[in-house]
Symmetry: C2
Subunit: 413 residues, 2 copies
Amino acid sequence: MKAAGIIVEYNPFHNGHFYHLQETKKHSNAEVIVAVMSGYFLQRGEPALVDKWTRTKMALQNGADIVVELPYAFATQKAEIFAGGAVSILDSLFVSELVFGSEEGKIDPFLNTVTLLDDQRAEYDSLVKEYIHKGHSYPKSTSLAFQELKGTNHCADLSQPNNILGYHYVKAIHDQNSSIKPETVLRTKAGYHDAEFSDASIASATSIRKKLLFEKEPIGSVESYLPERSFIHLKHFIKQYQFLHGWNRLFPYLKYRLLTAGRQELSAVYEAEEGLENRLVECVRTAASFEEFMEHVKTKRYTWTRLQRLCVHVLTNARKSDMSPALETGKASYIKLLGMSKSGQEYLGTIKKRSRLPIISNQNQYEDPFIQLDRKAADCYALGFPEHFRKEWLQKEYTTSPIRYDEINRKFQ
Amino acid sequence: MKAAGIIVEYNPFHNGHFYHLQETKKHSNAEVIVAVMSGYFLQRGEPALVDKWTRTKMALQNGADIVVELPYAFATQKAEIFAGGAVSILDSLFVSELVFGSEEGKIDPFLNTVTLLDDQRAEYDSLVKEYIHKGHSYPKSTSLAFQELKGTNHCADLSQPNNILGYHYVKAIHDQNSSIKPETVLRTKAGYHDAEFSDASIASATSIRKKLLFEKEPIGSVESYLPERSFIHLKHFIKQYQFLHGWNRLFPYLKYRLLTAGRQELSAVYEAEEGLENRLVECVRTAASFEEFMEHVKTKRYTWTRLQRLCVHVLTNARKSDMSPALETGKASYIKLLGMSKSGQEYLGTIKKRSRLPIISNQNQYEDPFIQLDRKAADCYALGFPEHFRKEWLQKEYTTSPIRYDEINRKFQ
């Protein structure tokens, strides 16, 4: 059986994601689509709007065959580490292609970019440092350094967010000597960070979250941007739990931790560098909301995303010593199965014995330093639920089996 | 001016406390009563029902002239350390007498007890160990050891909770070579731990809290047990903040901390011994309330109070390394002024320059390792307030000046 891989967050699953899944099938001719999905906390340093089990259902009903979790240690990370973890999982699951969405839309510029940067790494690094020294943010500096280096080569435009991720996917495949073939599809209409709706049926996840979380619009206002079988899950979640998850649900815990941790414990947190953690402590006392807090914390030097990720690590108490193995190997050490279709199940049967990494259905049966981080992340996420659901959610991580979906009869089993 | 000292918690201030204040004035003939009061967390390991500023007002309106705070490092401690800290503060404020309530009611049995235990310390310690080894709790073991040792001497009955505290006050005076003269008044009617009301006007603070917090009785149900000027403050607090403080308000934070701290950080917490902290972690996930949690945690080996105190230290993240100075010297290093009457102010003017310890009116002006613990305790207490009051309360510790009371015209200034 031929499998293609995708790397996703589905926060929440919208029409653009559906298009990406369809294009992946078309491009790859694969019988099985494997999605590596972030769990409870996302790359930009935010809790997911709805839980990972709900998002898994959205994915399975819309064409994914296998959904596995990107461990916390890779999920809430800059693009390089995020990509490395995800690619190592897809590699271990023997997908033949990785298909990602990009502003570029063609694969050659990515391959050119990787080759270029591989050949001229030292020069690139020193240029990046130079730009950071001039006061630019890290992403801006990498982009400027690259512009300078590439000259007239046709390379991917690394100022575009999906191109950056795509570049790191291709680079990870290259660095890990993986046989996966990278492919890309053009992202249409809605830019990654677009906060406004640009079309009647396609909108970015960011703009959908903004409408629901900050503008407090009713759920119906986003209906046209989600496939029906995604919208129903979102609606069901809101009806059942009477909330949508977001930073403000966890802000009391972050505040508590920042005010009681003390300098020593805070400086041990992953990504707590250059006294940034002390800045968080100073700003948190008087902030009435997470947004207000971030506005106080923000400086030109650090991106919003960088600061939010630090906040997640403070919240989950992910320490440098916990995270360093992720940086050393750059690869995942297990694969946590969240859900599968019948085809997915069949495919897993054919590769399970060959897989380099253990495939875990019940995480109680497996111990790993990164699993502990996943649990802490799950516990923090659970504590953000309304009080009478917390007990239930604090146990969900230990009691939920992978979701099974019968794609022929279109029902969960 | 002659001053007498008392050591109190006022959680909340009731008729028994009023009686104690009156008796102290009568016994000592003092012009000024100095009360050393616990702050936000109490000896039994609980947050105070109402904040320390409200309790200071209750005290001043009912006859106390100076209210100073017992620092966190002494307040949430076993009797020995609690007493040592409080006595060191009273000694530094030059009170001539310390008057405490006891079941015994006469001072000689306490003096006899201190002398006896001073002479036969080694024998006593080995007896206590023996009883602990036999499976008795620490307080029970000390009581049994003492019974065995005293023979026919007339000593204080150390199975009674107020006698235990009283014994430690007298012992601290003795150990610190203080010139304070200890005195005691008989506690009437309501036992320290009595959970039921035993009289029409006298009830223990425990029974009052039980009625309000667990039986959810209306505030009017305890009116007859509180002096009017205490009841009004309690009523006002409830009206203003729509809650009374208690462990359940802080349980989400305790839960969060226990689930994310990890073994290393938890074992660094003060009083985390013999793996007790791991027991807390195991029990916390499924507990729906603090009461339920404690029921799961409780074993014969540890008293409820011992476990609650550990929970407070986990919550405030008070580490062994933070607390050890309190154990080494056994004495306070500053005096935090919470409130004073006109007489109290006059008295402070006469002794301020002689005081061995700095008397602090605004804690921003003073740095001390124990002040940091007081701040963490204040922050945790503040986070238990309903959300829209948290910002205000997170700043109160830094912005509130000592309360001034004009006892002649009976009004606050």
